[in-house]
């Protein structure tokens, strides 16, 4: 309930939990608002479905996980202790059926003796198939916490980069001080804090320096232009060279986000960092310590001071350190009924206006859905105490998580019975305050100042003086207590339902390494990532194995510090945002012609150009092929890579990167080039034109444009820096179109300002031309096997030229053709694409072995390895069907006629296949063992997947116009 006159804000806020309406206040978290409304039961545990209540007041909360929102906007597993309430907030409990109050799977709790550590490794082993059909579905349905809606959420998140001199992580006393020192000294500072209000533990203090002091510092920091405050921002991970990941909750607290993204995932690059993340209080394991109403003492304190909420009418405090006494005093001062303080230490001098049991432990908690009483084991016997809230403090664990992210291993510090960070574990980062094991306010303040001063020194800046407030000298004085011995189950990992018994059993089964124990029991694998339990579990394991804690191991953490949504880290990639889209200049025209556009790498290219009368792609494709063979076709080939290569040594570079020679290429001529990787296999192919004595333009395949550019730069910069040559991509500069077919020259001559003929422009010629007044380049090259050209104009004219070319082609009985027809045309001609040069083919495999000239070139030596020149290799052939089955399919495998289609009989495979309208039958390209010597042989093609079994004749790969007469016409 809320104490009158205390707590945040005044504006009432209306929200619902499991459909019931409640009122909270602005500044409440869902947890504080529910506690203010006396709601104790908020969730169910993972395995045993035990009733659970709010346990903490921060993101480490293991119990109060709820689903926020409904439908596609539902967000599961949200910590009620972090979620701010707003008008209309809808929250739902999880992992229960049919309701939170009556959960059927709570039956699991009764079966607990059979469901202990690792039980599933020992059973459910048969009969075969039962795992997938019976056991696994049952287990899966019972497991899990919240549910995804299965639909994409409508709202967007974003990502951003930030840079600073000093990143301060955490805005408690140490962080505020560090930021102030650095800020006043002129450093470029980012102060990030996971809470929506900065101040950290100061906000949960009943005395100054506390909230007011924090407010004063924050006001000054806000006034400094060189300081950026990032509230609601959790630094989630430390990465190399001062890069940090951070998640900002931008609009999760707003009823109307008004255009704001939900979350922002920041990549912060900091020259130095101060970790001031504070510490987390740890529980004590005792029987039924998971009952709703058993809470962390620090949480009770935070709810009291920050939210004016007391989570019970009869409160007891149980601790092993002096902090418990401070809380008890503050509760009494606030008028709360403190039933008493149970201190496990013997040598404690009681002080304050409440009863104190020393040398006493809480050994059981009673009540199911709400705490009703506790049993104490005093030095003289047991005692039952009626309470509805128990505040527990087992001591503190420094929040050193980020110092582990680069592999740092925390060290055990005996006097505070806790792990502390290893200095230097993250280069440039220093821990200060409670996260460094400094548990008094005075030490936090001075460590914060010292850390900032050290960072400033490293940055070459002079620290300005900052006076620190007087902090009362509080003592910590802890005597470790990890678990209270006794019967029953005592929880370590609340979320995953790992108990002290489970850890002991793991040790008994020889899972004695801490890593084994964690993996066997699932300890620390739940959403709180062991924040509440890892150290306790380690201590219990140490006890079970008779070792010391540091001798047992250490606890280490991996990113993220607290869970981060996939939507935030993957922001912007939804839909088309995953990779840039590249559009050719003819895109709009092609779409206007009804062409379906397909992806070619990042590009979009037209598949085919349907006429109104055509209902199947094959009709369009066949027509387009015929058009090219009989009249003229137009195809945008701008997506092929184009690289401008200039310089006195341009030819020398080309001789090196191509298997064949280019230094002998004459000006005004084009040559086909085959490029090898250094390991001797084919990398890419294309044509290269010599535009001038020292000027070439190379084309690459669409897919290899990037890799080839990188390769050329590698060869030049790394292998042959002495060559005087320059390279730049001109792919984007030129729109280039194939004009292919017997009427291609007729078409072009209608456009060119000076006509061309076979003498001025023979096959494989190139040169500058003028098209409709625009300077252009013309290449007489052919992928289709027809008399063909490619004409290139500056991209601004691409769309206009495409439309003009298509219009004129149509006038000549031709038109535009797409990727389908392009593919058929090249298969008919036996031309290769990356379906054939798939990275495992040699020049010899594709019949180009003799192109490797007698000169140094990339890949020449490795291509001479015996395995690459073996005559038994699969060689490219053509196939035509000769049996009843006329269909050939890419991806089918080849066998001797009559051989069973088994792996050991495989002779090769089909790479490309199509129906050739020119030849009136299906044609394919394939790789076949010793294929070149097997032309005319009949072989079996089997495509199990598509149910095709065809008898084929092996042919030359060139099925159409093998003499190439049409090229030269």
């Amino acid at each position: 309930m809320r104490i009158a006159g205390r707590g945040p804000g005044v504006r009432p806020v209306s929200f619902s939990f499991d459909g019931r309406r409640y009122e909270g206040r602005e500044g409440d978290t869902l947890a504080s608002a529910l506690l203010a409304n006396d709601v104790a039961l908020v969730g169910r545990s993972f395995k045993y479905h035990r009733p659970r209540g709010v346990m903490t007041a921060g993101p480490e909360e293991p119990n109060a996980l709820v689903t926020i929102g409904r439908g596609a906007a539902a967000t599961p597993n949200t910590r009620a202790t972090v979620q701010e309430v707003f008008d209309g907030l809808e929250a739902f409990s999880q992992n229960r059926w049919p309701s939170l109050d009556w959960d059927l799977l709570a039956l699991n709790d009764l079966a607990a003796p059979f469901l202990g550590a690792g039980f599933y490794y020992k059973t459910f082993m048969g009969p075969r198939g039962w795992w997938e059909r019976v056991y696994e579905p049952l287990i899966r349905r019972a497991a899990g916490l919240g549910a995804l809606s299965g639909r994409p959420a409508p709202e967007r998140s974003e990502k951003a980069f930030a840079f600073c001199d000093l990143l301060v992580i955490g805005a408690g006393p140490a962080g505020l001080t560090a930021a102030l020192v650095a800020g006043r000294s002129g450093a470029d500072v980012i102060l990030a804090d996971e809470d929506f209000r900065m101040g950290g533990r100061l906000l949960a203090k009943g005395a100054e320096p506390g909230p007011e002091w924090a407010a004063g510092i924050l006001a000054e920091l806000e006034s400094l232009p060189n300081v950026r405050l990032m509230p609601r921002t959790t630094v989630t991970g430390a990465y190399d060279q001062g890069t940090f990941g951070a998640l900002e909750r931008v609009s999760l607290h707003l009823a109307d986000p008004n255009g704001l993204p939900r979350e922002c995932f920041w990549r912060i690059v900091a020259k130095r960092a101060v970790l001031a993340a504070g510490a987390l209080e740890r529980p004590v394991a005792f029987r039924n310590n998971d009952r709703p109403g058993v809470m962390m003492a620090s949480a009770v304190r935070a709810y009291l001071h920050r939210w004016g909420v007391v989570p019970g009418k009869r409160v007891a405090v149980f601790g092993n350190n002096d902090g418990a006494h401070v809380l008890a005093s503050e509760l009494v001062a606030a008028g709360v009924n403190v039933v008493g303080l149970i201190d496990s230490r013997h040598d404690v001098v009681p002080s304050g206006d409440f009863r104190v049991w020393t040398g006493t432990q809480v050994c059981n908690a009673h009540g199911r859905k709400r705490l009703e009483a506790i049993t104490l084991r005093t030095p003289v016997g047991t005692e039952r105490l009626a309470v509805d809230c128990l505040a527990v403090s087992g001591g503190w664990n420094p929040s050193l998580h980020l110092t582990c992210h680069l592999g740092g291993r925390p060290e055990w510090q005996r006097d505070i019975a806790a792990f502390v960070p290893t200095p230097g574990a993250v280069p440039g980062l220093r821990a200060a305050g409670a996260c460094n094991g400094a548990f008094t306010l005075g030490a936090c303040l001075s460590e914060g100042r010292a850390a900032a001063e050290e960072a400033l020194g490293a940055l070459g800046m002079t620290p300005k003086a900052v006076d620190l407030p007087e902090a009362p000298e509080a003592q910590y004085n802890i005597t470790p207590l990890w678990s209270v011995p006794g019967k029953g189950r005592a929880w370590l990992d609340f979320q995953n339902d790992v108990t002290v018994k489970d850890v002991a059993q793991a040790a008994q089964e020889n899972f004695r390494s801490v890593e084994h124990m964690k993996r066997y029991t699932t300890q620390g694998m739940a959403p709180d990532q062991g924040k509440n339990s890892n150290v306790n579990a380690l201590a219990v394991l140490a006890d079970a194995t008779g070792q010391t804690i540091p001798g047992t191991g250490t606890t280490t953490f991996r990113p993220p510090y607290s869970p981060v949504s996939i939507a935030a880290m993957g922001a912007g990639a939804e839909g088309k945002g995953f990779a840039p889209e590249r559009f050719t200049t003819s895109h709009r025209a092609a779409v206007g012609m009804g062409a379906p556009m397909i992806e070619a790498g990042l590009w979009y290219r037209p598949s085919y150009f349907p006429l109104r009368s055509e209902t199947h792609w094959r009709q369009s494709c066949d027509r387009e092929v015929q058009m090219v063979r009989e009249a003229v076709g137009i195809c945008d080939v701008s997506t092929l890579g184009k690289i401008d290569i200039q310089g006195p040594d341009a030819a020398a570079l080309l001789d090196l990167v191509y298997a064949n020679r280019f230094s002998t290429l004459k000006e005004g001529r084009v040559r086909y080039g085959l490029m090898l990787r250094e390991d001797g296999f084919v990398m890419d192919d294309g044509t290269t034109a010599r535009l001038g004595p020292e000027h070439f333009v190379m084309t690459t395949t669409t897919a290899a444009a990037g890799p080839v550019m990188r390769h050329l730069e590698f060869v030049h910069q790394v292998l042959r820096p002495e060559l005087d040559v320059s390279m730049i991509s001109v792919t984007e500069q030129w729109a280039q179109f194939a004009v292919a077919g017997p009427k291609s020259r007729e078409l072009l001559n209608g456009l060119l300002d000076a006509p061309v003929d076979n003498d001025s422009f023979p096959f494989m010629a190139c040169g500058d031309v003028s098209v409709m007044g625009v300077a252009a380049r013309l290449f007489r090259i052919s992928f289709s096997g027809e008399h063909a050209y490619e004409i290139a104009v500056p991209a601004r004219f691409g769309e206009a030229l495409f439309r003009e070319l298509v219009a004129r082609a149509e006038g000549l009985g031709g038109g535009a053709y797409g990727m389908e027809a392009l593919n058929v045309l090249r298969i008919e001609k036996g031309h290769i694409t990356h379906a054939e040069i798939h990275g495992r083919t040699t020049a010899g495999d594709i019949g180009m072995g003799r192109m490797i000239a007698a000169k140094d070139c990339i890949g020449r030596v490795a291509a001479s390895r015996p395995g690459l020149t073996d005559p038994d290799r699969e060689q490219m052939v053509g196939l035509r069907p000769v049996g009843d089955v006329k269909q050939l399919t890419a991806g089918a495998h080849l066998f001797d006629a009559g051989a069973a289609p088994l792996r050991e009989n495989a002779q090769g495979y089909v790479t490309s296949a199509c129906f050739s309208p020119t030849l009136g039958e299906t044609r394919a390209l394939a790789f076949l063992k010793r294929g070149r010597a097997r032309h005319g042989e009949h072989i079996r093609m089997v495509d199990h997947l598509r149910g095709i079994d065809a008898l084929c004749e092996v042919t030359d790969p060139v099925a159409f116009d093998p003499e190439g007469g049409r090229l030269r016409g």
């Binding site: 967000t75 916490l145 549910a147 066997y520 991996r558 990779a579 250094e678 495509d943």
Partner: protein, 417 residues
């Protein structure tokens, strides 16, 4: 001790007091017939099959840290047999058959779940390449089904079919593909090997390999010298360092591969899905976490952790493929060190030293290979000749160019596989 439902029941009723250690913790003996360096999945499986298949039990497994602490405990748990190059097909096919009998063989529930794996394709060219793969799988006797877009939709209705950057043309469905509980595989083999008399020695780092006259004599360790007639190296992630103790240099570069798991969620993804355009693969564990990963970080590394660019790339792939997972939160990320070979396929072979054998280079496909690798490596060590399904994993294939196993077709650059 034999595990069964009855045993669990009986122990439950008697306070779970009767459970005994999964494996013994013996002191190392001064000499063994065979020493296996490396107590990861492959090493433990090797020891198990040495004992079970070859009756060789005077065997020690030497592990620098804790059993199963390497990549077997930090992967995305996918089990499949969908390779297409001869040399790979028969090996992974054999390995999958061992998976299918593993629970009987080990009397341990490794939760091998044949929930089906779907490799998506996004163009006609990719479909043809997957058809070649699927047909090769069937040639081998394994299972594959070519799904069209609607076929994929029936299995995976939650993918973004309408607006994704790379439209879904279909998928190659491998019904026998699936997942397993990774740690349990290591523990099951450890228990099986230990029960058969193999000594599993933890916290025992090998610091040298003793070779005399071209023959292996034993190893030096942090717990003293151990003599051995035969030594097997199975130390993924450290292969280069251990091989160097025998004067070898390997065609391997070590790379870090990151993986991710979300908080527990109710069942939502029932298959293993692989999205090649985004180098993204995902499944949901029995506990409810979405387990997923992507590509290497791409730089040579021995740090079992990565950096943000690849983290973000993986999340972005998830968002374009199945935006419904956006609200799931990543709970933990981790990295494993991969032996990346120069053709993307592994090595199980003899070395230039008599009695010294090596099993390495699993790139990032080592988990599914655990039983097959253990079986074949045990065969090689025991009989000094290759086990037929693994006969293609020769060390000299790079030098000769014969039998290169480059499934990706990316050539000799180690990190591109």
């Amino acid at each position: 001790m034999r595990f069964s439902a009855l045993k669990v029941l009986k122990e439950g009723l008697t306070g779970n007091k009767g459970w005994t250690p999964h494996w013994r913790d013996p002191e190392p003996k001064p000499e063994y017939d065979i020493v296996i360096i490396g107590g990861g999945g492959h090493g433990l499986a090797t020891a198990f099959y040495l004992a079970k298949e070859h009756g060789l039990t005077n065997v020690a497994v030497l592990e620098k840290g804790y059993l199963g602490g390497g990549n077997v405990g930090r992967n995305t748990t996918i089990v499949r047999a969908n390779y297409f190059l001869p040399g790979n097909s028969e090996f992974y096919s054999h390995s999958l058959k061992l998976w299918e009998g593993m629970e009987d063989e080990l009397n341990y529930n490794v939760m091998h779940s044949q929930r089906g794996l779907i490799n998506l394709f996004h163009s006609d060219g990719q479909r043809d390449a997957f058809a070649r793969r699927g047909n090769a799988m069937i040639n081998q006797g394994d299972d594959a089904v070519l799904l069209d877009r609607e076929g994929v939709r029936k299995h995976l209705p939650y993918l973004d079919f309408d607006n994704g950057r790379f439209p879904i043309y279909g998928g190659l469905y491998h019904p026998r593909g699936g997942t397993a509980r990774h740690d349990a595989v290591a523990w099951g083999y450890a228990r099986g090997a230990s029960d058969r008399g193999v000594d599993l020695i933890q916290n025992c780092e090998v610091t040298g390999i003793d070779i005399e006259g071209g023959k292996v004599r034993g190893v030096q360790t942090s717990r003293g010298a151990i003599r051995a007639k035969k030594v097997g190296i199975v130390v993924a992630g450290r292969s280069g360092q251990v091989a160097a103790m025998a004067g070898m240099r390997l065609p391997i570069e070590s790379h870090v591969l990151q993986a991710f798991v979300t908080e527990g969620l109710k069942p939502v993804i029932d298959h293993v899905i692989s999205f090649g355009m985004g180098h993204f693969y995902i499944s949901q564990s029995d506990k409810g976490g979405l387990v997923f990963g992507g590509d290497l970080d791409f730089y040579a590394s021995y740090a079992a952790r990565g950096n943000l660019p690849m983290v973000e790339h993986v999340m972005e792939a998830g968002m374009t493929l199945m935006p419904m997972i956006g609200r799931a939160r990543v709970l933990r990320s981790w990295g494993g060190i991969m032996d990346m070979t120069a053709d993307g396929s592994p090595i199980i072979d003899k070395t230039g030293v008599d009695g010294l054998y090596i099993d390495c280079g699993w790139c990032y496909g080592g988990f599914k290979a655990v039983p097959g690798s253990g079986f074949s490596f045990a065969h090689l060590i025991a009989q000094d000749r290759h086990h037929a399904p693994a006969a293609g994993f020769r060390l000299d294939r790079f030098r000769t160019g014969h039998g290169l196993l480059d499934e990706e077709g990316t050539g000799s650059q180690h990190n591109l596989h």
